[in-house]
Symmetry: none
Subunit: 362 residues, 2 copies
DNA sequence: GCTCGGGACA
DNA sequence: TGTCCCGAGC
């Protein structure tokens, strides 16, 4: 049985708002670690992976794994009946065909109970590969949203280029072309140096690595810092295949580049990182500006060990950017010819999107 | 001739917004007491009764009764030409076929005059029965709106149950069921079971009556406190018949339960009330929280002398709830098998809706 | 605070 | 399908 008490229904509401246009039905998988959801979008171009960690709940109990097959539209409706600051309690029995939601107003004068029907959904548990990326861009989620919305006015797709000068978003449209360049705000402040592992620690000594990279292009550094994704662990029944747009069959399949190489060897440094990383973006909402350096409020961080040049459909990126309500910060992880990972980390978990690049440069 | 000067055009604008989807044409009846409008909705399921008291106008003069037959859509258009804080002057001659509206900006720099054509409308002056209700729920109008809008996402109708635990709104839908429970916020604070009396009493001196009720469940108490509706007085040419939904002919007809009984006997106590009651909810807009007890800002009051269990079409309730712009507080008056009365009192008058319950429990 | 876009309702 | 209302962005 599942029983989870979420302090603010708003988290769930925003999550569903973020995915409702991408996914129609999906399983929320509950286990002792929390809730996860993985689904391809309806046209199989994008993949969305959500995690709500058990620790993100005020109270969480799940005796054994339960798949909750929900219709996203229904779930969205039911969640709309919650006020943002309601306490939200989710309950389901092991064999449940309904999910029970209770919303308690802060003053407890109002208690609302809903029961949503569940459905059996073919558990295409997707195996999301753990990829090492050649470039990672960390920026305010609002800025990312702004850029893709702006560029989507001009054209259908955006080319994202990461070079030592920073990250550049380029759109060619009928009537106008545009490009937006973001420099690494820290690199400019601080020169020299080998930054890598400290990045969380302080964005303060990071500049160096970039320089190193320049000198000896190795993948080492970013690998060390890579964010590992474990959602698919142990379930990889089915590898994900993303058909970029339905028109282009030669778009990138969703396969890891170097699937397991160096995995273990990196484990230690990355695990160290991993511990800190969640904490980094752990304050999703209001703390915003002038927080610790960790969140690099307002800042842009560009990490790269190889130039990256990829083209994506703006429609999807605009859609992804709806998640900015969940986190002030977004990370874009890219390698040439593999799907882009757009990741929003927030206090209770994360939401990640994978989007296959367009191949034809169109 | 009619000449009425309203301090804020906003009142009229909101009133028309509140009814424009329910009614297409109706007579505004003007007499020395003020303006009233009564109309069935187009499908004869709901009835709306509006009153603008003469005393609510900055200046009011009406020599003799005049029916102003207006097309609601036209009236709405004309009123849209007024700014919310314009002074609005209505004028009509006794035999008028036009209604003249003048909007004066606060600074009198702008004066706009409109003349709207009137029409002859069959004066189906409706006889609204004066009913004693078994339950009365007083709550923030915004909350009422929220609840019916929420539940309308799930299903077509709502069952409203008033019991000693409070009032419960229950909806069964295809994809999900939901119910919202509101407790009497004063009952918990103040014990004595009968929360009621204090409500007004505090303000006036009526508390005792409610307690009595508790002890000996009689209908007296609410009767005493009942809000009387006199709009139909002296005109009852035609009794109203509401066909619940057009599908169900066996829905409640709009007939008073005990049509005239006790009318006079109640008159005195109710008239006392009546004088005070208007003052109670007389501050429609911003005073909100922390006003007198009268408005019970944010509070929910549930008064009952018999359990009530009724089902209504959410579509109509959602429509009624548009009147929340007119008052922060709404009252629901219910008895089993008789139409629900939804009442918004504001400084200048009131708007009341009557809705026949669904009988089949569907 | 105003304008634009998206969603819901008529 | 068009209009109105609500929310988000500028």
């Amino acid at each position: 049985m599942l029983e989870a008490r979420l302090n603010e229904a708003a988290t769930l509401k925003r999550l569903l708002d973020a995915i409702k246009e991408l996914v129609t039905d999906a399983n929320f998988e509950c286990n002792e670690e929390g809730l996860t959801l993985q689904a391809m979008d309806n046209s199989h171009v994008a993949l969305v992976a959500v995690k709500l960690k058990a620790s993100g709940f005020k109270r969480y109990r799940c005796d054994r794994p339960i798949p909750l097959g929900v219709n996203i539209a229904s779930f969205t409706k039911v969640l709309k009946c919650a006020k943002d600051d309601d306490v939200c309690i989710l309950k389901a029995n092991d064999d449940a065909d309904v999910l029970s939601l209770t919303y308690e107003a802060r003053n407890t004068d109002r208690i609302a109970e809903y029961e949503m029907k569940l459905m059996d959904i073919d558990a295409d548990t997707l195996n999301i590969p753990d990829t090492d990326y050649d470039a990672r861009v960390t920026m305010p989620s609002s800025e990312f949203g702004r850029i893709v919305r702006d560029l989507s006015l001009l054209g259908e797709s955006v080319r994202i280029e990461v070079s030592k000068e920073g990250v550049r978003f380029i759109s060619d449209g009928e009537a106008a072309n545009g490009n937006v360049l973001l420099r690494d705000t820290q690199a400019s402040t601080r020169k020299g140096g080998s930054s890598s592992k400290q990045e969380d620690a302080e964005e303060e000594d990071e500049p160096e690595e970039e320089e190193e990279d320049e000198d000896k292009p190795t993948k080492k550094k970013i690998k060390k810092e890579k964010v590992k994704k474990e959602e698919g662990e142990g379930k990889g029944e089915e590898d994900v295949e993303m058909n970029g747009d339905g028109e282009e069959d030669d778009e990138q399949e969703f396969k890891p580049k170097g699937e397991d190489d160096e995995e273990d060897e990196e484990e230690e440094s990355s695990s160290k990182k991993r511990k800190k990383a969640p904490a980094k973006n752990a304050k999703p909402s209001k703390k915003a500006k002038k927080d610790d350096d960790d969140e690099l409020p307002e800042g842009v961080k560009v990490e790269m060990n190889a130039h990256v040049n990829l083209t994506f459909s703006l429609k999807y990126l605009v859609n992804f950017s709806k998640s900015s309500s969940l986190s002030n910060v977004v990370q874009l992880m890219m390698s040439n010819d593999v799907p882009l990972l757009v990741s929003y980390e927030f206090g209770q978990g994360h939401i990640r999107y994978y989007l296959a690049p367009k191949i034809g440069d169109d």
